[in-house]
């Protein structure tokens, strides 16, 4: 599914993994570079759902998330019933990534088969995230992230 609908991501130098997470943190589809361990994708999906659910609960609208780490970056784009995630190397330009995701995601959502498939996927709900309470630092962190994403 990923190769079919996101060909410019899959074939792009610097992209290590592309995944489609449902709103419960399940991995519905993925592509990984040869030799890359795919076991970590489930954890990444769970974290995505956690972050976006918390942001929803706090009333923040995050259109995308870019998290740099030591050797790369994680890019996430939430949609009505899923999150598209990309793991890439740091030298991959985020604007280019965003542009490709914009175009592919629109085509993906227009596809009739995809639309039928998405009907069966769960909606976002407050129950999707872990029922934990945020401390003050976590709230501040999310506020800063959302402010940064709003530019």
């Amino acid at each position: 599914m990923i190769e079919q609908h996101f060909p410019q991501l899959v074939g792009r130098k610097g992209v290590s993994a592309v995944m489609l997470c449902d709103t419960r943190g399940g991995v519905r589809g993925y592509w990984v570079k040869p030799k890359m361990n795919n076991e970590v994708l489930g954890e990444i999906c769970e974290q995505f759902v956690h972050v976006f659910s918390l942001a929803n609960q706090l009333g923040y609208e995050i259109e995308e998330l870019v998290v740099p780490f030591e050797k790369g970056l994680i890019y996430a784009r939430p949609a009505e019933k899923f999150i598209l995630g990309v793991v890439a190397r740091l030298n991959l330009d985020v604007s280019l990534l965003r542009l490709i995701v914009n175009v592919h995601l629109a085509d993906f959502l227009q596809d009739k088969k995809v639309q039928r498939m998405l009907k069966k996927w769960p909606e976002w709900s407050p129950a999707n995230s872990s029922p934990i309470k945020l401390d003050e630092i976590e709230v501040q962190l999310i506020q800063r992230m959302t402010e940064a994403s709003r530019g």
Binding site: N91, L99, A106
Partner: protein, 161 residues
């Protein structure tokens, strides 16, 4: 040594040793070892070539092999940056004209000015952001996306490394 399939090694490229594979795991020739010892994530291919008195063809062969063996990681290009060819900017401007009319040229200049860039020296790495920024000058979200799609077709195969 067959390097026909390897990407061209440009003199301004900078490599470092990959953490994923050790040179000890591969049988290397003495010149390949010599290159390995020079890698520090700062020297360009050209600088290493100069130190070891290697010509471009030799560098292509050696770096090509080391990359194929998974021993190298591209750090980045040096300050010698790639500039967007003028015809490419013109193409993007033409596409924008189809959406916003003859004002497109002015919009391109305005956005470039906001980005503190000049037409003749726009680096390739700024191109996706330029396209994205220009798309916001189109009012309709559907047409924005259409413009992004068409511009992406033009810029997607450039070397952004």
């Amino acid at each position: 040594m067959d390097n026909k399939k390897s990407s061209p090694i440009r003199p301004d490229m900078i490599f470092k040793l990959s953490n994923r594979r050790s040179p000890q795991e591969v049988k290397l020739k003495s010149l390949e070892w010599a290159v390995i010892t020079q890698l520090n994530g700062e020297k360009t291919v050209a600088q290493i070539g100069e130190i070891l008195a290697l010509n471009q063809e030799e560098l292509q062969d050696i770096f090509g092999r080391l990359i194929q063996e998974g021993l190298l990681e591209l750090v980045n290009h040096s300050s010698t940056t790639q500039v967007v060819p003028q015809h490419l900017l013109k193409e993007i401007e033409y596409i924008l004209t189809l959406y916003v009319g003859p004002i497109a040229a002015i919009l391109v200049d305005d956005v470039l000015s906001e980005m503190k860039l000049e037409r003749k020296s726009v680096e390739v790495r700024y191109l996706p952001f330029l396209v994205e920024r220009l798309s916001y000058e189109i009012t309709s979200p559907e047409k924005q996306l259409k413009f992004q799609r068409e511009a992406l077709e033009i810029i997607r195969d450039l070397d952004y490394a």
